[in-house]
Amino acid sequence: MKFTPFYEMHVNLGAKMLEFAGFQMPMSYRGVKIEHHNVRNNVGVFDVSHMGQFIVRGPKSGEFLEAVTTNNVAKLEKGQAQYTCMTNENGGIIDDLLLYHLLDGAYMLVVNASNIEKDLNWLKQHKESDEIELIDISAKTAMLAVQGPNALQVLAPHTDMDLENMSYYHFDKGIFAGQDKVLVSATGYTGAGGFELYFASSKSETIWNAIWESDEKWGLQAAGLAARDTLRLEKAYCLYGNDIDESTSPLEAGLAWITDLKTDFIGREMLLKQKSSGVARRLVGLELLEKGIARKGYEVLDESGQVLGQVTSGTMSPSLNKAIALAYVNKPYSRVDSRVWVQIRNKRVPAKVVKRPFVS
């Protein structure tokens, strides 16, 4: 069992803990709905130190990353971050990740905790040159996500970095709460706005305490993984292991926008074929029309009971108060307003395909 540097803080806040990707993580503190609404309306702090970070550096690191990720690395300016994924030769998704362009010839990759080993091995295997350094800094790096409309007010008093004018998917590195080398990016997995902070684990206590000095009027609360999941699902952000994995392609998952087929990368040929012949299934948003909650693994059916695909994530949306889900369905049914049914135990509950995100 692994622990993040904030484990004691979570326990002191009375968090309900669960094991996630080998880490003891906070699932919720005061209740998922309270935390969810507080992030949408005020601001929440999430410990996401379980996530993995790698540094890739060397003169050819940009070309190397171009060859292993689907997005266009050449377009990524210094000080910018990019959502991208790594695909295998079949076009299946090995992981989805954030890529930060730190300096000339230096990048940081932020990967899913459950995929750290797999990603490292994959990158090592394809790193042809010894001039490219690949360093796993996950174990000594802490990460907090401060998300919500009041995130700026919570963070700005502790730094000279210009967070107010930081554009979405940009970042800066500087002093935060007296600690140097803190990377702050305008990114997140909630769709509520806000920032993510990366820093050496040894600085965790100081940074955590500084964030909690925030004026009461901003409404800062801790938020756990359960709220992180409902928040991301309302925005239809993919969760690795649920909505995407090695059996799904970025084109099927609605991630064509991070797949630049003009760049050459592993998996491109299969994806070009898929694009020209058309994908057979697509990840869609579903809204249930009667009571019930669609959960991962439930079957999606047509009117006659024929299986169209499977639910990959589902929950009761705290913002909409409706049951929402992501599911793969055969293409004719992927159009918005298509009527489908979800098999929930012994019942067939009607649902319709809706636009993603569920909450704009």
Partner: protein
């Protein structure tokens, strides 16, 4: 610390059972609702059915998880708490009162409580 009334009986599946004349009322314990978190839907589709002890009579859905509900004893489901249709959160806020789930007519009225746990026994299972 969760609440555990002494006058109720309990099951290992975290249900409570209360005798009300010749019927028994069933709900889930304070401990169970706390573990589940915010309950968003209570799905009971066994009204008027006669079920064996241990059979699933419904499910409670929290934001993150779904959990089956098991019959503590054999009996017929004669009433379901209709308030939960619109206010499933009553199971969180008042698990032993307004948040009750079903009323059952036991198949064998003599059998009541013989296989159930006392508050002390249940307490030792969850602590």
């Amino acid at each position: 610390m969760s609440e555990l009334p002494k006058d109720l009986h309990y099951t290992l599946e975290h249900e409570w059972v209360k005798k009300e004349d010749d019927l028994i009322k069933i709900g889930i314990t304070d401990f169970a609702q706390g573990e589940l978190g915010d309950i968003v839907y209570v799905d009971i589709d066994t009204l008027d059915q006669e079920l064996e002890a241990g059979e699933v009579f419904g499910t409670v859905e929290a934001v993150k998880t779904v959990s089956d509900l098991f019959m503590p004893i054999a009996g017929t489901v004669v009433e379901i708490n209709e308030k939960l249709e619109d206010e499933p959160e009553l199971v969180n806020s008042d698990p032993y009162g307004e948040g009750w789930i079903i009323l059952v007519k036991p198949t064998d009225p003599q059998d009541f409580a013989s296989k159930l746990l006392t508050a002390e026994q249940y307490q030792s299972k969850i602590s």
